[in-house]
């Protein structure tokens, strides 16, 4: 059956697949354009801050989704990679004067290496045990940095004040550069996910998630697949952490490595649609502005209330639509199948 013509239903399915990929790219271009214009319409500094964070968490959650959503390895310890990126960049910059652009890459590579070393051990564990192990290891990492004097221990690292410059990626008041970088990072993670979805890795990772035994019988190397997903995921998470350090210009262990960050990376994907291309960004656009407004209204007294709010949100989604919000859109097209 070398290359005979396909039957009509299959030709239609194949064409529909190509059409869907094209439409997704167009939708993505429109989304990027909208985000590029948005800060020119919304000049309020506080609102622009929210835009930066929304885009950053969209990128982080997209990175988390590569391992958690596509490959099915639920990590609740991604704060470790976020912190690795933030600390690598901050230490290289403040101790050695290495510009953050380079620090970001170094942080990403270190995080990917850590993910491979940890994965070598942890990918023997299945399901909940894997998730629990990631929490424990991230907490251990937090404690280590807390006691690491050279890296500022619990006091953290203050970035020196310097004039606005693209070279050091430091801007005192101007939020626009940060918005565009966060947008670029989100675009990169989205495009990587898009490419993965269309490549053999995407098929392999989803197969590993759905049924590892069946995947193995079809020639898929489970361990290698998980390792690759973990490395890609950790790399982009660390670049996000490096960006965050540039953005806030002061980091300490709790502000970049706390368990809360691991949750905040997983939640948008879970809310929007785990293992989907659009889930993380949809989730982040809903969750992050909501989180920022609740925590600012409640101020210092309401610490943790924001977590309760999105805990509730996730429960509602889990009960009403476990596939996430984006499944509302795909459901409408389903009946033709």
């Amino acid at each position: 059956m070398a290359s005979q013509a396909l039957s009509a239903p299959l030709a239609a399915t194949t064409a529909a697949h190509d059409g869907r990929r094209r439409r997704e790219l167009i939708a993505f271009a429109i989304l990027l354009a909208a985000f590029a214009v948005l800060p020119h319409l919304v000049k309020d500094v506080y609102a622009q801050n929210v835009i930066v964070l929304t885009l950053m968490y969209a990128a982080l959650s997209q990175s988390w989704n590569i391992l958690g959503g596509y490959c099915g390895q639920i990590s609740l310890g991604h704060a470790l990679y976020f912190g690795t990126g933030a600390y690598a960049t901050s230490l290289l910059y403040t101790k050695f004067g290495v510009i953050p652009w380079f620090g970001m890459i170094v942080g990403g590579v270190i995080a990917a290496a850590i993910a491979l070393v940890l994965g070598y051990q942890l990918f023997r564990l299945a399901g909940h045990y894997f998730a629990i192990a990631t929490i424990v290891i991230a907490e251990a990492g937090l404690l280590l940095v807390h006691n690491w004097d050279w890296a500022g221990a619990a006091t953290g690292i203050q970035w020196p004040f310097v004039p606005d410059s693209w070279l050091t990626f430091q801007f005192g008041r101007d939020k626009l550069p940060y918005i565009y970088f966060a947008l670029g990072l989100f675009a990169a993670t989205w495009l990587v996910t898009f490419a993965i979805e269309g490549s053999r890795w995407g098929y392999w990772w989803r197969a590993v998630k759905d049924n590892a035994d069946a995947a193995e019988s079809l020639g898929v190397k489970i361990f290698k697949s998980k390792m690759a997903a973990a490395a890609v995921s950790a790399f982009f998470t660390a670049v996000g952490g490096a960006f965050y350090a540039c953005f806030v210009q002061y980091i300490d262990p709790d502000s970049v490595m706390a368990f809360k960050f691991s949750l905040l990376m997983a939640l948008p994907a879970v809310l929007g649609g785990i293992g989907t291309l659009w889930g993380p960004v949809v989730g982040a656009v809903i969750l992050i502005p909501l989180m920022e407004t609740t925590s600012s209204y409640l101020g210092g007294t309401g610490r943790g209330i924001d977590l309760i709010v999105y805990g509730l949100l996730v429960m509602v989604v889990a009960l009403a639509r476990p596939e996430g919000i984006v499944s509302l859109f795909s459901r409408r097209k389903a009946p033709k199948a």
């Binding site: 039957s7 299959l10 197969a207 759905d210 995947a215 019988s217 079809l218």
Partner: protein, 243 residues
């Protein structure tokens, strides 16, 4: 190339104190359809897993095309040309039917576009074309069995291991299944099938190998095996008395 396609050489597998498969040896030649039969608990599925590489044997060797593949894991055996289905269907339920088959096709076609093309051809061959776009989780049980076969065929196996693909099907569905197996053989694929439903296996296979309590009970032409007194008492006896 004179070696048989598959040689199972004195293979045993123990689970703790239980010997699921004991000193089993047999061969499958190129182009054959061989039936592996036996009552429940005979060790058929264990033997299958040993051949597919899902389990390592406690002792003995598995040879494929004359080469020792005992140490190879399941993905590598798939690469060598051993495809399999599962007794309890294991579809990728979050993926479409076509995407399920693409996973299998990727072994020989690293580029996703080529794999999609191959998968589409296999779905046409397996008669699942109208369901290509459906989520695999929405398929009916007989369709899921068909998908298992299609997915394994997409890896372009030389030897296809079918684990009770007819179980739970109505006679009409099973007849379609038999036609599919015959069609598979016509494309040059050798088939080793575990089957429970004797009425279906016996007319389909060239040879039958009977396993009972983990040991070989009989092997040979289906008619001879069916007439073997040991087989009748161990397996067919109950059925004959019942009908």
């Amino acid at each position: 190339m004179n070696a048989p396609l598959l040689q199972v050489d004195d293979v045993s597998r123990r689970f703790g104190g239980l010997a699921a498969v004991s000193n089993v040896s047999f061969e499958v030649g190129r182009g054959e359809i061989v039936g592996l039969i036996g009552p429940n608990g005979a060790g058929k599925s264990t033997l299958f897993n040993l051949i597919a590489g899902a389990l390592p044997p406690s002792s003995g060797r598995i040879l494929f095309e004359g080469e020792d593949v005992t140490a190879l894991a399941a993905p590598d055996r798939c690469r060598r040309g051993i495809g399999r289905t599962f007794q309890v269907v294991k579809s990728f339920d979050s993926m479409s039917v076509l995407d399920n088959v693409v996973v299998g096709a990727l072994v020989r076609h690293p580029h996703a576009a080529a794999a999609r093309r191959k998968a589409a051809e296999v779905l046409d061959f397996a008669g699942l074309a109208p369901r290509a776009a459906s989520p695999a989780g929405d398929l009916t049980p007989p369709e899921k069995r068909r998908l298992e076969v299609a997915r394994a065929l997409a890896t372009e196996p030389k030897l296809l291991l079918l684990d009770e693909v007819m179980t739970g099907l109505t006679p009409a569905e099973a007849q379609k299944g038999v036609e599919l197996v015959r069609k598979v053989r016509e494309t040059g694929v050798t088939v080793l099938m575990v089957e429970h439903v004797m009425e279906i296996v016996m007319p389909l296979v060239d040879r039958a190998f009977v396993l009972h309590l983990g040991r070989e009970l009989a092997h040979g032409k289906p008619a001879d095996v069916a007439a073997d007194p040991g087989v009748i008492s161990a397996y067919l006896g109950d059925r004959r008395r019942a009908s």
